[in-house]
């Protein structure tokens, strides 16, 4: 199941073969396939989607910076610490 492996990758989830997750996923996909019995030509195309209003991009002061910093799982001098993401030359 190469396809399934790719879904895990896209979802940023660890792929483990032994898990019931695979079965569940397959069953759910089969289950929603019931929508195939609807003839899409019979249902109208037009959308009632409202177009979202845009607002001005204004800077607003946020006054609780400390709590944001407190929530960082690993930090140094108020900076986020991350593993190295650039490979050596």
């Amino acid at each position: 199941m190469k396809e399934v492996k790719n879904i895990f990758k896209l979802a940023n989830l660890e792929y483990r073969e032994d898990e019931n997750l695979l079965n569940d996923l397959e069953n759910i996909i089969k289950w929603v396939n019931i929508l195939n019995e609807i003839d899409l030509n019979l249902i109208s195309e037009d959308k009632n989607h409202k177009i979202m209003e845009l607002r001005e991009d204004k800077i607003k002061k946020f006054n609780n910076r400390n709590q944001i910093i407190k929530n960082i799982p690993e930090k140094e001098d108020n900076f986020f610490v991350v593993p190295k993401v650039i490979n050596n030359g």
Partner: protein
């Protein structure tokens, strides 16, 4: 003490403002109640220990808030290991608007992880018990909020409803649960699950209590681009219901979609409207039954995008690693529970190249068709009625290993969510075992005032009795 606990939210506010009782007295009665019974119900994840009363009309009367609604300085876990220690740096708009007039948050209630589930069994911490029968689920995902209200630990609670997560637990716990029109209450600070469906809802033991809370929290908010600019109303000012001028559509469903007991109760519900002189007709909708499938494609797709933010870098769970890929993968593997992973995978699949047209796009088209079909009904009828759930509260463990069986819990609530319609679950009667049965009323967009008025009319007629105050032992 019990005399305070059984009072409605509006009565307590009134008594405090008339100085018949103090904010402290009211608050302490409820805190004592929580301390004495919540070890059995397990409705709360966190209790606010600060006990501060800000001045205002709502001061001291406790409100419970579902733990996926942000509270400044108070842990907001979403029922997930990923956010076990997360403390929001701001209040959700709904919470902020209550606090502005003294609203007092007593604590945060349990839920299915990220609001994905129908029983609270998907909470990473514990399962909440149904106060009517501790062996049964309270429903979900706002199960903690519904159980807290039903067991007199608070008079009102906030929940969130994406496909039925306020209405279904309200039905299982014998209380009222309103999901307002999409856009009526700001979603700012409600942790996103499926953004085109999520809506904050209100749970209480009286329609009037829901109306008061709605009055405070409804209305446009510049922080939520999907919140509506349509004027709010005084929701506490109920319309006079004149049955002979009120047209109701009673939805017809396939026989196997309801338990026998539910089927009989639904007939009784329809009979109630007939007897009171309402104009009521049975109506069958062709596309309703597809709602469930459409929902699991759309909600999962949106969830897979919304939950991509949990990467272990800025907040939440982090599993240390020397490379970034494995840091993401390990943090998410340890942080997320089973159901959340299922939905992320389902959503990723629906959105992935090669499957997008067949799943997400098709589901969106059917969603529009369902919405239109319901909207059309409202050109002829004022209200649509149905049961809230296919059956009464089920036993803990009964469906947890069969996700699809669990998904059917929302058969009657989902199509209305897909269309953004307001709907309420009302406690209608009890079954032979004494378990509550909830019935649903839906109205056209932004008709919350009418919805609450009819609910109040029904309450005054049937007087549903919650007799569990002393009964949880």
């Amino acid at each position: 003490m019990d005399e305070i606990l059984v009072k409605k939210y509006y009565e307590l506010i009134d008594m405090i403002n008339k100085k018949e009782i103090s904010s402290e007295e009211v608050y302490n009665s409820f805190i004592n109640r929580v301390e004495s019974i919540d070890s059995k119900i397990k409705a709360f994840i966190t209790i606010d220990k600060k006990r501060e009363f800000k001045p205002g009309k709502l001061s001291g009367v406790p409100i419970a808030v579902k733990d996926n609604i942000s509270t400044n300085g108070l842990k907001t876990t979403c029922g997930s290991k990923f956010l076990e220690n997360y403390i929001p740096p701001y209040d959700a708009t709904a919470v902020a608007r209550l606090k502005e007039d003294g609203g007092t948050i007593i604590g945060k209630t349990n839920l299915d992880e990220f609001a994905m589930g129908s029983s609270t069994e998907n909470s990473a911490f514990f399962t909440t018990r149904n106060p009517w029968d501790l062996e049964r689920v309270p429903g979900g995902s706002s199960g903690g909020s519904a159980a807290a209200v039903a067991s007199f630990q608070v008079p009102v609670a906030l929940g969130s409803d994406t496909g039925g997560s306020v209405r279904q637990p309200a039905a299982f716990c014998g209380v009222y649960g309103l999901k307002p029109t999409y856009g009526r209450i700001s979603r700012y600070g409600l942790v996103a699950f499926a953004s085109s469906l999520d809506q904050i809802g209100i749970i209480a033991r009286a329609p009037k209590d829901i109306a008061i809370v709605l009055k405070y929290i409804a209305g446009f908010d510049s922080m939520d681009a999907t919140s509506s600019k349509i004027e709010t109303e005084d929701y506490t000012n109920f319309f006079n219901i004149n049955p002979s001028e009120t047209k109701i559509a009673a939805l017809k469903f396939p026989k196997d979609s309801l338990s026998d007991e539910m089927k009989n109760s639904y007939e009784e519900y329809i009979e109630f409207f007939v007897k009171k002189g309402f104009i009521i007709e049975e109506v069958e909708l062709k596309y309703w039954k597809y709602g469930l499938f459409v929902y699991y494609i759309i909600a999962s797709s949106e969830a897979s995008a919304n939950l991509a933010r949990y990467d272990g870098i800025r907040y939440g769970n982090r599993v240390a690693s020397d490379n970034i890929e494995s840091l993401y993968l390990r943090s998410r593997e340890i942080g997320f529970g089973k159901e959340v992973k299922r939905r992320i995978l389902m959503g990723t699949y629906s959105l992935s190249s090669g499957f997008f047209d067949e799943y997400y796009l098709k589901a969106s088209k059917v969603r529009n068709t369902i919405t239109k079909e319901i909207k059309n009904l409202f050109s002829n009828y004022d209200f649509i009625v149905s049961p809230t759930t296919p059956e009464v509260a089920f036993k803990i463990g009964e469906k947890i290993d069969d996700p699809i069986k669990m998904y059917y819990s929302d058969y009657f609530t989902i199509p209305l969510s897909l269309g953004g319609f307001p709907a309420i679950s009302i406690p209608f009667k009890k079954d032979k075992k004494g378990l509550p049965i909830g019935m649903q009323i839906a109205a056209n967009h932004f008709n919350e005032r009418a919805l609450l008025s009819l609910s109040d009319f029904i309450e005054n007629e049937i007087k549903f009795e919650n007799n569990i105050l002393g009964g949880i032992e």
